[in-house]
Structures are given as C-alpha cells and as structure tokens.
C-alpha cells in the first residue's frame, strides 16, 4: 500500500542513464527504488554520499536539474517531484560521481582540519590571489550555475487571510477544517506536493482506518470551502513584520516549460498557526555518512509512502519512535549498544558493533530523536528553549510573536493524538467550533539522548559541509567556544540545509567539550529563508526590460519615426538626438540641431520636466517658504525662475513657476527631481504649515510640453496660435505666460521661457494632443527649416548659456557656489536659509561655478577632470575643483565647460590646469564667464 501510482510510469535520466519511476515519486524515491546508492559528493572531502532523508532536510543528495540548456543546481533529490523527461545530474565532482579526483581531499584530511586556511597561505604575500585561492575556489562550491539567462518566468503575488496554517500534517489539517467550517479565510500551505505530513510516511490509523482515508476526507471537504485555499508545494520561508510571510509556491520542477514555474507570495495573515512538524536528527558515530545510512524516519517514508523495501536494514536508535522502523537488527543505545564503525565507501556493506561484531548491512536506519521545526518562530528573533525530557528545543511562549501559535510536533507534541488535541485547542482559541477528536495513537516520548559515539575515526555532524565532531572540539580548543564562533570557524550549519540535521547535534558535541549543558551552551538563531528560494522568483516579473517601468514622452512615436536615439532620464526615455541620413556620428546631428535652432528655430519635447499645480489663497506665501526668492509678488501672467534649497542650505532644485491666477501657480521642476520635490512640498504643506490654504497636484503627465526656441520661434508659434491671441514682444514679453488656444481652439498654455538663450516659448497642450502638435509644429515649421532637437543639443545650448543643471545641482552646491547668491531674498525666511550661512559654506575660498575654454583651441575638455593652479604639483592638497559639464560648442567652435573652482568668481582670465587621469587628458584652460553666449540676455528679449 503506497502513495505512488504504478499505473503512471515516468521516465527520467540521472547522469545520462535512463531510469523510470512513478507518479507520486520524488527523484530520491525513484533512484532508491532503482538501487542507486551514490548520488553526490560532499563539500570538502568529496566523500561519496547517498540519500539520507526524505524531505527538505536532506543534506547529501544534491543534484542539478537540466533543461532548455541551463541547469538548476543544488536541488535536494528528496524534494523534486518526479516528472516525465526529468534530466538530473550529480554535482561537485571532478570526473564522475563514482570516481571523483577531488576525493584526494578525503585522504589528506588531517591537513584540512577546521580553520586550517586561517593559519597558512600567508607567504609569499602575492601568492594568495594567484595560487592558493584559485585552488581553493575550484575545489569549493557545489553545483554549477549555467552562464545563460534563466529561461523561466515567475509570478509574484499577495494573499490575505485570517489564519495562515503552515504545515498540512494531522494538526494543520484538523485546524484548517475547524476554521474553514467557521467561515474563516484560511490558507493551508505545505512544502510537500502531497498533504498529510508524517501520516503519509507512517502506518498509523485514524479513527481505526488508514490515515490516508482520513486525510482524503478532510482534503475533500476543505477543497470545497470557498474561503479555504489549499497550497501544496508551498514553502513558507520567512516571517516578516506585522504578520507578513514569504512563501514560494512551485508549479513544476521542469525548466522552461512555459507559465510561471514558481510564484512568490507575500501572505498577510491575521494569525498564523505553525504546524510544521519535526525533523529527525542523526547520531554522530564513526563513518556515519556512507551511502545507505539514512534517518529512520526516511526509511519508513520510503517504505510506507513510496513502497520501497530497503533490504538488509539495521537500526540504531536512542528512542522508542525509532523502533517503528522495520529492521533485521536493532541497536538500542539505551541498552548500551552502539556502533564502532561502518564500511562500504560507495554503499554501506557492514556495521561494526561496539562488541566488535560485524553485521552485514546495506542500509542503516538512524533514529537520534526529533527536532521540532521551530525555524519560523525564530525569524523575528524569538529563541526556542531546551526541553530536557524531550531532548529538543521547543518554541518559547515568551518570545513567540503574539500572532503565532505553534501546534503538534512543531511544539514538541509528537503523538498524532496530541497533534489533534493541539489543533482543536488552537481552533477554539481562534473562535471556531471544533469536531470530536479523531482517534489516534498517543505514544509517549521515550528517549535517552545519545549524540556522539566517541572514537578515533571521523564522525560527521554537518554532512554537507563535512564538519565532524573533532572539528567542533578543535574549535573549542582554539578558543571558539561561543556557538556563533564555532559556526563561523567550522562552517557548522552553514550549508544549503542550514543545519537542519546538524545544529542540535553540533551543539551537543560543543556542550560536551565545554562541560556545560546544551541550554548553557546556547542555541543558534534561524534566519530566513527556511528553505532556499530561487533568486529568479524573488525578482519575479522584473527581468530584462521589465526591471523598471519606462515612461514615454508625447512625441515618442514621432521621435521613433524620425531617427531619434534615446537616452534614459530616470524612467523616461527621451530623444537624445535625431540622426539624419549622411550624418556620420552623433556629433554631426547634435551640432546641426544646435546651429539650426540658434539660426532659425528648434523644437524639443520638455514634457519630462516636473509640473506641479499649486493652488490656494496661501500659494504665494507657500512658495516664498520653499523658494529662496519671492513669489507672492509675482504678477498674474508672469513666470519667475526659482531656486529651492534643502533645509541644510544646499541647492535642491530649480525651475520656473508661472502665476496663472491669484490663487493658481504652475511650478516646474527638473526631470530628475519631480518626485522628490513634490514630496518635499507636501512635507512643507502638511508637516510644517498645515494651516496654509494650499493644494498640490502633479500635472507632469497631463500636459505635453514643447520648447520652441530660436530667432524664428515667434513666427512659428504665430502660425498655430489662434488669431485672437497676441504674442508680439510688447503684448507677451519675456517671462510672460497665459492660457491661449492653438490650432483652431486647442487649449494651450504658453510660457515665454528660454533655457537655450534664444527667443523661446514653451507651449503645453493636454497630452492627448501632444503627438498631433509636434507633427503640426514640424509641418508649419518647414518654411523656417525647423528642427527637432534632443537632450544633447538641449545640453549644449544650456552650457553655452551657462545654466546650471543636474550636474551642477549635485546635492553639494550652495546658491553661492552656483552664482545664484543674489537670488536669495534678504527680506524673508525660506527653507534652508539659516543653515546656508554656516562658516563652511560661505567665504571666498569656496568652490564657485565658472566657465572654461581651452587655451589651445584644438584641446579637448573632459568632464570629471580636477583643476590645479598652474605650476602646482598635482596632488590632493592642491586640488582646486572639478569640471561638471562639458560640450563642444558649434556656436563658438570650441570645447567649453562649466565647473567648480575655488574662489572661481575672482579668477576669471586665469589659466589653470585640468587633469584627467582616467582619459589621460591634461590641458590648460582659461577661466571665463560661464555665460558663453549672449551674457546680457538680449536675444531672449527680442
């Protein structure tokens, strides 16, 4: 009577050899049934290893799953649900799994004791990276990660419930039943693909019938309850704040078969019932790691659940539960029996008893007692406590999260009866009526702990990381007596199984060495995740282009069709330049865009600039607080440049703000700072001055905004503006703004602003018209040879004009340094004003923004260069500042730059050295006025 379906055979390969198993098998059970002994190699000594457990505790049988040209390494064969076509391979060997060249480590093991590497490999100094370390690195590691993109796709989701039940064994199932009947929203999750827990692996009865019948009835009822969600193959791996749990649901182990291979769930639970069961632990004795030596509970799982009779089985146990295992020979350590050694390198052949008697054995079942799976009680730093009678750690009510209950074996209540009793108690506590207790076994725990059978030979504690009992005593001898030190020094419990089978045994060995009790020696803290989680699942949905959203401008389609190259500006994609046929490189395009704009007219999409509607009776007063200059006096129909400081006196952002009515301003921010500025304004509004009448709304996406710049800007704009509006210089001067209509009645806002230094306007229309407007502007502009220009030309023109931008507003510059000290109103307070006056932020020797031109006109200026006074040594002490923006100016036929120079304002005319080691470019530069073009601003006022 087993739970595999022999009518459904499944074919698979292991290390290239064909095998077959059945529906309901794990890879481990199928391999065992086919007599495979050696499944992999251990981490350090490369010892042959077989299958030790039957669940997620497995430390030995790690394999790779292959598919679609990649592999998933380090999978426990015991948790892989067999599927047809599975290709699995063993890992961590040089050669084959049966003949691993690195097994030489096993023969020189005395030289590889715990921490040996800390004491040597120090000479000669240079040999570490070149010789020693590469050798160590090659030998270390487990499976291999394929150097190709993960072909699988994952989901991420959010579930909400009243009660999350972790573990669908007897206690979890019964709890779910009661709560489900009471109409509560319940999630029942279990990492196994079949629900039932230990009942599946034992030969118990419930209500005098096979346990599987009871399980079937309960699952059937649960599956019909709309508020109950059954989640098999779901590992609840982490406990986070406020009742949030991380869980990983696996749909299939096959790689790249379409759909979501796994789903990462964030579960929001009102209460959590931990019914996670317990894990059996081994006993440390000489050569206890041979293939064929298994946990007794696993031997029973393979027999009862998977229908595999493991021949020639010997049992060693220190407790009654172990006696449930069928064995040809029983060694009950409570009667004084123990094992002196084992033999059989690639598969157990014999067991030598303390008497010297040698038993022929192919399998050895080890029953060292059970450890409750308390892991999830520790993720919020709860500490389990030692229960002496049960010889295990149990959850401590005092440190348990208030919204968590632990029941059944996870609480140290091991019998099926007590599991059911716990379930009813917790269901009652959670307000549900409970059914009569199902009738089940109630065997008491009878255990006399035996942890370690001492001897000269190595006895494994942490199988995967090859930590032996001797390593732990050696660590203690060297002063590493804190359990955390021992872990770190020996690597005990640090392998992929996180010490599931080794932590308590290791602690016991350490306690023995320190002559203390186990609770005196300590406990180890369990950290998330309970079981390893694929990084791909944690990143679900965010690979490749989906890593972050993409924001598109209203002219995106137009730009795509007109040769634009795009640049990332935060999440935005902006046109960088528009290449025309015949242009050899980006510089050709950018130079043309600049020249044509300065000679006639250019159009640029500036929608990405943040736009914030500021409305209210106190809007002017509010802006006075956030800007260094005054806005309350701004006339309706006018714009003003504004500089905003952080409270620490450093420039935060700048932009122009227009006044549309007495109570209505429209602020613009830089593209990068749109979000942070909005947040800051809301902080000022809600947290500092909640009594001001001000409302803020972001309108960045609402309005498509274009800059129209160049001597012909007005002529172009006049062609589209509706005839009732006058935009002559007299009627609509520099810094004017108004709501108007364009293209026969299209609502538009016109701002006479200039970033380029030319006669310029910014026009904004509801974004629905953005795409049409840009085409219309270009069509109407044909007679002027109008061009679209991108961010590069925009940058060139603003550098030519000497406007600070993101490179200058870099979070370390003051209004003074930016040459904007004069903007700071002396009549009023503003955010940042007080702290901007600290001694370290004022004074002549501070950095200030100036312009630079090469002395030798063929020299190139490079951004990021550091400045030095001519003739001084190039070292850190003499550093005079740095270059922040550089452009080739087609207008001046020269490279130009903006940068910060100590006392820069007073050094105009001086020749300094710009030093750039990164590009090997050292040049002499002349310090000039940062306003390279039209410093008087005549052009923008025409």
């Amino acid at each position: 009577m087993s739970l595999v379906d022999k009518n459904v055979p499944l074919n698979f390969t292991f290390d290239g050899k064909a095998y077959s198993g059945f529906e309901g098998d794990t890879l481990a059970s199928a391999l065992l049934r086919d007599g495979v002994k050696v499944v992999g190699r251990s981490f350090k000594y490369h010892r042959p290893r077989g299958i030790m457990g039957a669940g997620s505790e497995e430390p030995n049988a790690l394999v790779e799953i292959h598919g679609r040209g990649v592999c998933e390494p380090n999978r426990r064969a015991t948790t892989i649900k067999l599927f047809d076509g599975l290709k699995a391979k063993s890992q961590n060997h040089m050669g084959s799994r049966n003949f691993d060249l690195l097994a030489v480590n096993d023969f020189i093991h005395p030289f590889l004791a715990a921490g040996f590497y800390y004491k040597t490999f120090m000479w000669p100094e240079a040999f570490w990276e070149k010789l020693y370390e590469p050798v160590i690195r090659r030998a270390a590691g487990l499976g291999t990660l394929t150097r190709r993109a993960d072909p699988d796709s994952y989901d991420k989701g959010f579930l909400h419930c009243d009660v999350l039940i972790v573990g669908a064994g007897p206690s979890g199932l019964l709890t779910a039943l009661s709560l489900g009947r009471a109409g509560q929203r319940v999630i029942l999750a279990d990492d196994d693909f079949r629900m039932g827990g230990r009942l599946l692996s034992e030969s118990f009865t419930v209500n005098d019938a096979l346990a599987s019948e009871w399980i079937g009835e309960v699952l059937e009822e649960l599956s019909e309850m709309p508020e109950v969600r059954l989640m098999p193959r779901t590992s609840v791996f982490g406990v986070f704040d406020h009742g949030i749990y991380g869980a990983l649901e696996t749909r299939t182990d096959a790689i790249g078969v379409g759909g979501a291979r796994q789903t990462l769930w964030r579960i929001y639970a009102g209460h959590t019932v931990l019914a996670a069961g317990a894990t059996e632990r081994p006993i440390a004795f000489a050569n206890n790691d041979r293939p064929g030596i298994m946990l007794a509970s696993a031997v029973r799982s393979y027999k009862n659940r998977f229908g595999i009779d493991l021949e020639n089985t010997v049992l060693i146990t220190n407790n009654d539960d172990g006696l449930r295992t069928d064995a040809a020979h029983i060694i009950d350590t409570r009667g004084g029996g123990y094992i002196a050694n084992t033999a059989g390198r690639k598969g157990l052949r014999s067991v030598t008893l303390h008497t010297g008697e040698k038993l022929t054995a192919n399998h050895l079942a080890v029953a060292g007692g059970w450890n409750p799976n308390v892991h999830l009680t520790c993720h919020k730093r709860g500490r389990p406590v030692w229960d002496k009678a049960l010889a295990c750690f149990v959850p401590d009510a005092a440190t348990l999260p208030a919204d968590m209950s632990v029941i059944g074996a996870a609480a140290g209540h091991f019998s099926t009866h007590s599991a059911f009793a716990d379930a009813n108690a917790v269901a009652k506590k959670l307000g549900a009526k409970t059914p009569a207790l199902p009738k089940a076994e109630d065997a008491p725990i009878q255990i006399t702990p035996l942890w370690h059978i001492k001897g000269a030979k190595r006895a494994w504690v942490d199988f995967q990381n090859d930590v032996t009992a001797k390593d732990i005593t050696l660590a203690h001898q060297e002063g590493f007596s804190s359990v955390e030190h021992v872990k770190r020094y020996t690597t005990l419990g640090m392998a992929t199984d996180q010490g599931r089978t080794s932590n308590v045994v290791g602690l016991a060995v350490l306690a023995d060495a320190t002559q203390q009790t186990i609770p005196q020696t300590g406990t180890t803290i369990f950290r998330p995740p309970y079981s390893p989680v694929p990084i791909g699942a944690l990143a679900a949905g965010h690979a490749g282009q989906h890593f972050k959203p993409t924001r598109l401008t209203p002219s995106h389609s137009y730009a795509l069709e007109n040769g634009a190259a795009f640049v990332e500006a935060g999440y935005w994609k902006r046109a960088q330049w528009f290449a025309r046929t015949g242009e050899k490189g980006w510089r050709d395009s950018v130079d043309r865009e600049v020249i044509m704009t300065r000679n006639s007219v250019g159009i640029c999409d500036v929608t990405t600039l943040g736009k914030i509607d500021v409305q209210g009776r106190d809007a002017g007063k509010f802006l006075n607080k956030v800007y260094v200059n005054t806005f309350s006096t701004l006339k309706v129909g006018k714009c003003r440049y504004g500089l905003m400081l952080r409270e620490d006196g450093i420039a935060m952002d700048d932009g122009t703000t227009a006044r549309l009515s007495e109570t209505h301003f429209v602020m613009t921010t830089t593209t990068a700072k749109a979000g942070p500025v909005f947040r800051h304004l809301e902080f000022v509004r809600q947290c500092l001055y909640p009594d001001m009448d001000v409302h803020l709304i972001s309108t960045t996406d609402q309005w498509a905004q274009f800059s129209i710049a160049g001597p012909n800007a007005r002529k172009l704009l006049e062609k589209i503006i509706d005839p009732e509006f006058d935009i002559s210089n007299e009627a609509f001067p520099y810094m004017a703004c108004a709501e108007m209509k364009v293209c026969s009645g299209t609502r538009a806002r016109i701002f006479r602003l200039s970033f380029s230094g030319e006669l310029a306007y910014e026009i904004s229309v509801p974004a629905r018209y953005g795409d049409a407007l840009v085409s219309e502007l270009m069509a109407q502009g044909e007679e002027f040879d109008a061009v679209m220009y991108g961010t590069e030309a925009l940058g060139v023109m603003r550098i030519e004009k000497g406007h600070a931008a993101g490179n200058e507003l870099n979070g370390t510059t003051t209004a003074l340094a930016l040459g904007l000290g004069g903007f700071v109103s002396k009549k009023k307070d503003c955010i940042g004003k007080v702290l901007s006056k600290r001694e370290g932020m004022i004074g002549q020797d501070k950095l200030s923004m100036v312009g630079f031109m090469p002395v030798n006109e063929t020299d190139k200026i490079t951004n990021g260069a550091h400045f030095f006074t001519k003739g001084e040594t190039h070292n850190a002490q003499n550093d005079q500042g740095y270059m922040s923006s550089v452009a080739w100016s087609p207008s001046l036929n020269s490279y130009i730059g903006l940068g910060f120079l100590k006392n820069g304002t007073n050094r105009k005319g001086e020749v300094i050295e710009a030093v750039d080691y990164m590009r090997d470019n050292h040049v002499n530069l002349q310090v000039v006025n940062p306003h390279f073009i039209d410093p008087e601003g005549a052009r923008l006022r025409v």
Binding site: V70, Q477, V567, M918
Partner: protein
C-alpha cells in the same frame, strides 16, 4: 602561538593536540590605561595598533557578547578605496594599504583577496561622476581604470548586455579592491592584540560611564566598575545607545542593512561588481556562495533583520544585471545595524568630555575601514591629535557646515 605551514603539518600528524586559543579569555582588572568599548573589528584593530604602533600598555577591549559578533561578522566583506571626496579617499586608501599587509602584520590569514571592484555606469552623468572619482583616487595614489562597455564585457561576458532596461555603458574598476574573510579580521586582530598583552574581555557589557567634573575616569560594566585614563568607544550600530550613557546625542540614526548569500556554486565571479542602475552588488566567496546586498531598509531600526520589499528589490537588481542568477537560490539573509551619520561619512573624534573618545558613524562602509579606523583611533587615543587621514571626521563638522557628503543627499541618513 604563531601560525605557519610547518606548524599545520606538524599538528596534522600529531592529532592537532598542540593548538592553543587564538586569544586568551581575559578577566577584567580594576584599572587600565586605555579601555576600548566594543570587541568588533574597529575596537580590536584599535587595540592592536595601540599596542603595536603606539607602544601602549594596559589596554582592555570590552565586548558585551562574543568578539566579532557585530557588523564585522555580518557584512558583505568588500574592501575598496574608491571615494570621490578627498576627506574620504585619503583615509580609505590608507586603509587599503593596511589591508595589503594585514596578514603578515597579525600572523593570521584573513584571505585579503584583491580581485577587483567594478562599479558599473549606465549614463553619461554616472560616467562623468566616476571620472571625477577616479581622478580623486589617482590623486591619492590609488588605482582606478575607466572601462568602456567592451572592456566590461571582456571581464564579465555573462552580464546583461543585450536586454537591459539600463544598458551597461562601462565601469570604474579598482583592481586592488576585493574581499576579505570578515570573521577572520576580528580573530586576527584579537590574536595579534592578545599577543601584545591586550585583555580581550568578552561577555562584559558597559552599563555606564564614570564621569566626574567633565572627565571620564572609567566605565561601569556587567562585571563591575573598571577604571581607565582614557575610554574609546567603537560600537558602530549602537553608538547612540552607548553615548547616551554619557548624555551625548549624536548626528546619527540607526538603520538596518540586509545582506544575502546564495547556495554554494562553482567559481563564476572573480571580483566584486556593483550595479549602477539598481540596488545590487555581488561577489563570490571562496566557499562558492554569491554574497550580495543592496540598499538599507530605509527606516530607523535596531532589529537585526529586514523585510521583503528590500529582498525583492535586491533580487530584481541582481536578475536584471546577471540574468543567470535567476537559477541560483537565496540561502540565507541577515541584518546588521548601521550607524547612519547625517552626511554618510564617519566620525573619529574627541568628545567634550575629557578622556572620552568616539569612533562611529560608519554607515554601511565600516568593514573596509577597519584597519584605518583602528589605526586612526589609536593615533587619536595615543597622541590626542587626529591622524592625518582622519582629520575631517570631526563631530562639529555639521554645525560648521563642513559636511562630507559623497552622495549629495543632505541630512537624510536613509539616502546615504
């Protein structure tokens, strides 16, 4: 006891019976010349340099738990000296030079492995900032190379060059950067300090300062009062808590930073890579685990643990940069408490209380600073003058407007 290959050979043949404790389990004495509070990397390094360079005697290190249990034992093991501001770069380059001679200095293999630290850039603006930084490094004698996309591809062909939301444009490489086996740093310094007579006293929690007339004369501890001529505090993560016992408030918040390790994998990644378009940096340990991390959680915390959003954010960064790691599995995560200072840079200074010295504010950059921090703090404790590379790390720099703000984020610690 001294370590050597010969010694290992001998011990291996004689059953490892001769190994002695790496450091003595010292009992507190009534009085010391100098007490260091905090048996982490910085505190133990300070003790080592006080004894070895400044020839000081009667030194104790007081540790409330076990040594190396704080941030030196819970970081991502990266060492580098690639800073932009001179106030930092000089200090971290000094630290790098000390790392390069660490093992010989302390006779303990901390596996200083200089396999390179590569910071990727994805925009012209980032590139220019890295050029400025690389030039600052060069001015301090550090090594820096600007790489273009192709050079990055030659180093790490498996990064996402084809389908990236933010394409890799290049990187700033510091070949001398790398990793160090973090726990071994604490043990190595403890070993060396112990050999020079420093008392390393574990399970000894400081519960108060003995301050009279503006003068610190010792400390109260869970194991009784201990007198000292000078007391140095090196308890990053808990600085505010400890200094509050001296009635000092600091320009600092405590935040939690999570770090992650994958299951062991065969060698894949030689050096350290930092993503410029997401919160993700990664290296591979000698044991084969990918060690990676990202940003701090963003809210004040003294709990050594974090939450899901950051885990996901870091993994999203990882997969977008290295698409193959989707198939690697996260094995373990942990959190450390960071002293986040108000400008992202540390403090090594005297306090207004005579005899009380402070070292903290390391943000999440404390590990790489360990040797220079120890050296500079020892210098300050021994000579009452700041070490030349740590002169800017003053407590009063905020009131004077002399912030050292690498990231330009201002007085908001969670943005540094």
């Amino acid at each position: 006891m001294s370590y050597s290959a010969f010694r290992i050979f001998k011990e291996a043949l004689t059953g490892h019976k001769g190994w002695k404790p790496v450091w003595r389990k010292a009992e507190p004495r009534a009085q010391y010349d100098i007490i260091i509070i905090g048996g982490g990397g910085h505190g133990l390094a300070t003790a080592h340099y006080l004894a070895s360079i400044f020839d000081k005697k009667r030194i104790a290190v007081l540790e409330k738990g076990w040594i190396g249990g704080g941030n030196v034992g819970r970081n991502t093991t990266i060492v580098r000296s690639n800073y932009m501001l001179h106030e930092n770069e000089g200090f971290y380059e000094f630290s790098m030079k000390l790392w390069e001679n660490l093992e010989q200095d302390v006779n303990y293999n901390a596996m200083v492995s200089q396999r390179g630290v590569l910071n990727l850039y994805h925009s012209d603006g980032q590139r220019d900032a890295y050029v400025r930084r690389g030039n600052a490094m060069a001015l301090h004698g550090a090594d820096a190379k600007l790489l273009d996309t192709e050079a990055v591809r030659r180093l790490y062909p498996f990064l996402n060059f084809d389908d990236a939301r933010f394409p890799i444009q290049g990187g700033l490489l510091q070949p001398r950067g790398g990793t160090v086996r973090h726990d071994a740093v604490a043990w190595g310094y403890a070993h060396a300090a112990d050999k020079r007579g420093v008392d390393i006293i574990e399970n000894c929690e400081v519960t108060g300062f003995d301050i009279q007339n503006g003068q610190c004369r010792g400390v109260m501890t869970s194991r009784g009062p201990i007198k000292a001529k000078k007391v140095g505090v090196a308890v990053a993560g808990n600085s505010s808590r400890v200094m509050a016992m001296a009635y000092m408030r600091l320009p600092m918040e405590s935040h939690v930073l999570q770090a992650f390790v994958s299951e062991g994998l065969k060698p894949l990644l030689d050096g350290v890579i930092t993503y410029g378009a997401g919160h993700f940096y990664v290296s591979q340990s000698d044991k084969g685990g990918l060690v990676f991390g990202g940003d701090i959680e963003g809210y004040n915390s003294y709990a050594q643990r974090g939450n899901m959003p950051v885990v996901e954010d870091v993994c999203e960064g990882g997969v977008s940069l290295m698409p193959m790691i989707g198939k690697a599995r996260l094995l373990r995560m942990w959190g450390g408490i960071m002293d986040m200072s108000m400008d992202g840079s540390p403090i090594i200074d005297r306090t207004h209380i005579d005899g009380l010295y402070f070292n903290g504010g390391w943000c999440y950059g404390g590990f790489k600073a360990t040797p220079a921090s120890g050296y500079s703090f020892a210098h300050l404790l021994a000579t009452d003058t700041p070490h030349v590379t740590a002169k800017a790390y003053r407590l009063d720099r905020f009131s004077r407007g002399l912030m050292i703000d690498e990231k330009g984020q201002g007085a908001q610690p969670n943005l540094h």
